[in-house]
């Protein structure tokens, strides 16, 4: 029994990780005033880039880096549209989603045909010592590489956002760009950089999803995760740690649903597998309603900045 619980938590954390990465990236982008709805598309591009790179070179690290790199490229495209050209952010973001959705699968089918090709997943790495703690060890410290990355990265990003001068600049640009500009903050630069950073994490999130969770690429691999990542920013009230908590809630719900699939199948209810897959979406909507009541977004979220 404890073994099952530990493995459910283990799987939940693994699943929460891509979501958490994409979500904290979006926190930074929104803190400087830009809502990026293209996260889903960027995740898909990150997934195909990572998959192909790993398949060709056999090197997982290069795969992760390819995901990051394609994220930055798409971030540049998005920031050019939303910051430089001042297009409606929601519409521009949907454009990025579209492009990523179609292009990722088009690239896959051109390179690999219609067959599913699998790659060797990275091993789960146990942390010596910590892994021996009952339940917690197995759940938290026998994990994939990017899971450990989130353990360090997200608290650091929280610290940077609230306690460092970089964070003050980012938040100032989202709250009052004109004042920030007067204070000598390069508003455009901050906006571009946070979008690139957020997109890079979205690309990495796609890479993690593809390399660690599925081990193969298929059309629409993310199934709305990128949009949920944006939702978690509102759930977490633009706080990286709280967004992470939201990702863990989703991950746990998903993990429980997936774990229950097997017994349900054995009981002769295969359709219930799909019923269970609805639950994470319902849970996340309920969580959003409870948590984001009266949430106050950055004051200039969605408003393009112009220096006039």
């Amino acid at each position: 029994m404890w073994d099952v619980i530990a493995s459910v938590i283990n799987l939940g954390i693994a699943m929460a990780t891509p979501l958490a990465l994409a979500s904290v990236g979006e926190v930074y982008s929104e803190r400087s005033g830009t809502i990026n709805l293209g996260v889903e598309g960027i995740m898909l591009m990150g997934a195909i880039a990572a998959f192909h790179m790993t398949y060709v070179t056999g090197d997982l690290l290069l795969g992760y880096l390819a995901g990051l790199a394609i994220g930055v490229i798409f971030g540049m495209l998005f920031s050019f549209m939303s910051v430089t050209l001042r297009l409606n952010q929601v519409i521009a973001g949907m454009g990025i989603y579209f492009l990523g959705f179609g292009l990722s699968d088009f690239i896959y089918k051109t390179l690999y045909g219609k067959e599913y090709v699998t790659i060797q997943k990275p091993p789960q790495i146990p942390v010596p010592g910590l892994v021996n703690i009952p339940i917690i060890g197995q759940a938290l410290f026998d994990q994939y590489p990017t899971v450990y990355l989130t353990y360090i990265l997200i608290p650091v990003l929280w610290y940077l956002l609230y306690k460092s001068s970089i964070g003050i600049s980012v938040r100032a640009v989202g709250e009052n760009p004109k004042a920030a500009d007067t204070m000598g903050v390069n508003v455009f630069l901050v906006k571009h950089l946070t979008i690139w950073f957020g997109s890079a994490l979205a690309g990495l999130a796609g890479a993690a999803l593809c390399l660690e969770i599925t081990g193969l690429f298929f059309e629409n691999l993310t199934f709305g995760l990128g949009f949920i990542a944006v939702g978690l920013v509102y759930f977490g009230k633009w706080d990286p740690m709280k967004a992470w908590a939201g990702a863990l809630i989703y991950g746990m719900t998903w993990s429980i649903s997936v774990t229950l699939q097997d017994p349900l199948q054995k009981m002769g209810h295969p359709e219930m597998v799909y019923f269970m897959l609805m639950l994470p979406y319902i849970v996340i909507i309920i969580a959003l309603v409870i948590m984001s009541r009266g949430a106050r977004p950055p004051k200039y979220l969605g408003v393009p900045y112009t220096r006039e």
Partner: protein, 356 residues
């Protein structure tokens, strides 16, 4: 020393306003040609199949009108909400829920009551369910302050999961072999032109667009709705109930998307399966954009996207590419059209700002 872009608003002629989006379209197709070359297929053969398929024969043309029908309904709906200042990106989910409702009602009624009653009930239920799906997100925003962009888009995926579950459970056809699907629907839309696939849903869509135009531009409600969207502060000052118009626009928008869903199952496929959910609701966002959020403009842009969608099926058949190629090309079109918008609205100057 920094380089900055300066935007100056400008007026452009009608010709430029039409030519620039067409140029954007051409550019996207050019990129598409390079993609086809990379995929090892002949772009000329592909585009030839595209044009002759979509426009080259009466049957092709009626199929184009068939394909434009959901875009028209959802595009008009999205134009509605855009005018009221809400961006409804949940059309996809509202469309799926409408299709589910229409299927469910038809399966329950088709052998019980005469076909016209079954069809009418199914359509009404589809509109109600689509409207409810949208208004739920709208109400969360209006009464609890939950961001509607986030909820509508997550509800799109929830709708897709509901569809997947129902097709394997309560709505499953006992004889389904290859992919999960519902039993066949018998009480369906009659054809508009006998001998073609074009059904009366097309006529309904055109009428809906005209009615929407009238409501938006020739009634008091429409005027207030537009004011509420353009300037909520003024609307509040004038005593308009902004929240009511917000919810009304969501309901109308969702209802039209639900109607579009009903049209696809009752008019085109005559059964329900996962293939109805191919992102038409997302495409409708750009249909509304190209149509300048004007119901009559949306008729033309929906036709344009009908041509693209119908042509793409022929292109896919001729080249062996899958629908994700069309989706990628659509992404290009989306982005190039957006960039063209900027060119139309603004004169852009590169200016150099001296060292500070």
């Amino acid at each position: 020393m920094a380089i900055m872009l300066k935007f100056e608003e400008r007026e452009v002629g009608k010709a430029a306003a039409i030519l620039i989006p067409l140029a954007a379209l051409g550019l996207a197709f050019l990129v598409g040609a390079f993609m086809m070359l990379w995929a090892g297929v002949d772009p000329i053969a592909g585009y030839t199949a595209f044009v002759t398929g979509a426009l080259g024969s009466p049957g092709g043309l009626t199929d184009t009108l068939l394909r434009m029908t959901p875009f028209l309904l959802m595009g008009v709906g999205i134009a509605f909400s855009n005018r009221a200042g809400v961006l409804n990106i949940g059309a996809e989910g509202q469309y799926i829920m409408g299709a589910i409702a229409a299927t469910w009602v038809t399966l329950a009624l088709q052998y019980v009551v005469p076909a016209p009653i079954s069809v009418t009930t199914a359509v009404i239920m589809a509109i109600i369910v689509g409207a409810a799906w949208a208004t739920f997100a709208g109400a969360l925003k209006a009464f609890m302050g939950v961001n509607e962009i986030v909820t509508t888009v997550i509800m799109n995926w929830l709708a897709l999961r509901i569809l997947q579950w129902l097709l394997r459970g309560p709505l499953k056809s006992p004889t389904a072999q290859q992919w999960p699907m519902s039993p066949p629907l018998e009480a369906v839309y009659p054809p508009l032109i006998p001998g073609t696939r074009l059904h009366i849903g097309f006529l309904i869509a055109i009428l809906a667009a005209i009615a929407s135009y009238y409501l938006l531009f020739h009634t008091n409600t429409g005027f207030k709705l537009r004011v509420a969207g353009q300037n909520p502060a003024v609307a509040t000052y004038a005593g308009y109930k902004v929240r009511t118009f917000f919810l009304l626009s969501m309901a109308l928008s969702g209802g039209l998307a639900g109607l579009a869903g009903a049209g696809e199952v009752l008019g085109v496929f005559k059964f329900l399966y996962e293939g109805i959910a191919v992102g038409l609701g997302y495409t409708a966002i750009i249909v509304a954009l190209v149509g300048k959020n004007h119901p009559i403009g949306v008729i033309f842009s929906a036709f344009m996207f009908g041509v693209i969608y119908n042509g793409m099926t022929y292109l896919q058949a001729a080249t062996g590419l899958t629908y994700t190629f069309s989706k990628a090309l659509e992404g290009m079109i989306y982005i190039f059209v957006l960039l063209a918008e900027v060119l139309i609205l603004y004169r852009i100057r590169v200016i150099r700002v001296g060292g500070e």
